[in-house]
Symmetry: C2
Subunit: 241 residues, 2 copies
């Protein structure tokens, strides 16, 4: 029933436009009554984003269930990934909606509001984790915004390519950029490209565990994110050993 209503609504939005389609048109095409529509969707707008409430609830529950020692940036990245998976479940529908949302100003405003709620959910978790840190709320807000922006950049690229290609690889790559900037070792897969020139971290594994020093040797022209990535990977290597 719910899926039939969404399908009917999208067919009409694309044929006639969003503004020109009424709830009556949708229920007539779907062959159900108005009450059925409003049982599933508070308004015509909600039929466009039918899964966000569930996804927001899932994400909030996932963050609430985090182990106490979970690495915070990695945890919110994994939470953001859940949104991507929701889109990737149904590429054709996601691409349709993307096209529609770009055309209809009211829908863009609605989408911004949804994105803002995701961002606040991520920030709320980080604020809890960073409580007591100097600048904890600042860091939480900036990292949450970065994660959302990276996610959306990868998601939009995937949607613009008509849902071709592997959305998860793209979003993981994007989230690795955020992790490198804010201090989580990037995901080990896929392996990092080896461009030249690249920084060459000293292995540093000959340091005694009591040593509190890391030496990084890097090409001066290397981009900062790559230097950070190398330091991160050296540090995590040290911590594992």
């Amino acid at each position: 029933m719910r899926d039939a209503l969404v399908a009917a609504a999208f067919q009409l939005f694309l044929e006639r436009g969003y503004e020109q389609t009424t709830v009556d048109d949708i229920v007539a095409l779907a062959g159900v009554g108005r009450r059925s529509f409003f049982r599933y969707f508070p308004s015509k707008e909600d039929v466009v984003f039918p899964d966000h409430e569930r996804c927001l609830a899932d994400m909030t529950a996932y963050l609430a269930d985090s182990p106490e020692d979970a690495e915070p940036v990695g945890r919110v990245s994994a939470a953001a990934r859940m949104v991507l998976l929701m889109y990737a479940e149904n590429p054709a529908f996601s691409v349709q909606r993307y096209r529609l949302t770009k055309k209809v100003p009211g829908l863009r405003a609605s989408e911004l509001s949804v994105v803002w709620r995701y961002e606040r959910a991520l920030a709320a978790y980080l604020r809890g984790r960073f409580a007591g840190r100097p600048d904890g709320t600042l860091q939480a807000d900036v990292i949450a915004a970065s994660v959302v922006a990276a996610h959306n950049n990868a998601l939009r690229s995937w949607l613009r390519s008509d849902g071709q290609g592997d959305a998860t690889t793209a979003v993981d790559h994007a989230l690795d950029y955020v992790k490198a900037a804010f201090g989580t070792p990037p995901t080990p897969t896929p392996p990092p490209p080896s461009p030249s020139p690249s920084p060459s971290p000293s292995p540093a594994s000959d340091l005694d565990e009591s040593d509190d020093v890391v030496v990084v040797v890097s090409r001066r022209g290397a981009p900062m994110w790559r230097v950070v990535q190398e330091i991160e990977s050296t540090l995590s290597h040290l911590r594992e050993n």
Copy 2:
């Protein structure tokens, strides 16, 4: 006239609520006709954010006028600072509006849309600067979102404190966090605090200019942002010499 309309509107919004106030009420209190109102404001909502269009235009012009070799993260940070200065021009009005916006859902949606436009203006500039970089649009989007989040964090703290204290110091401190993460040397003032333990970068200035290597020695427990800050400051020191 324009200021009188804004003042009348805010008085009524606070006395009666936003939804219960009509444009007729506003013009009656301000002692002008409806046409005067609509000459300045397309709708009742626009009277709440009267300066954003001008500020967006100023910001866009500022970014368009950037020197070709302007440091990109610093440039968008300076652009975001223009928004802060707009708020700080009139603390009492900004605090009033902040309280109103928190109470009225329609206004929050409108504010999100404004914030989104600022963010896209910053991202558009960065995308231009990063054109040709691998992941240029990703980096542009993430940095723009970070700058906006840092700015808004500082702005909201200032608004919550009823506009007490120095808003520019707070926003500069917040933007320094973004600069440290994404590769601009933080603003030289205020001087960085000297906590202990802190990393001790080797001065490295004895390297020959032809050397392409930077050595940073850092305490292993130092937070990543501080390590980055030290590397940045070492690199910029090297480049200046």
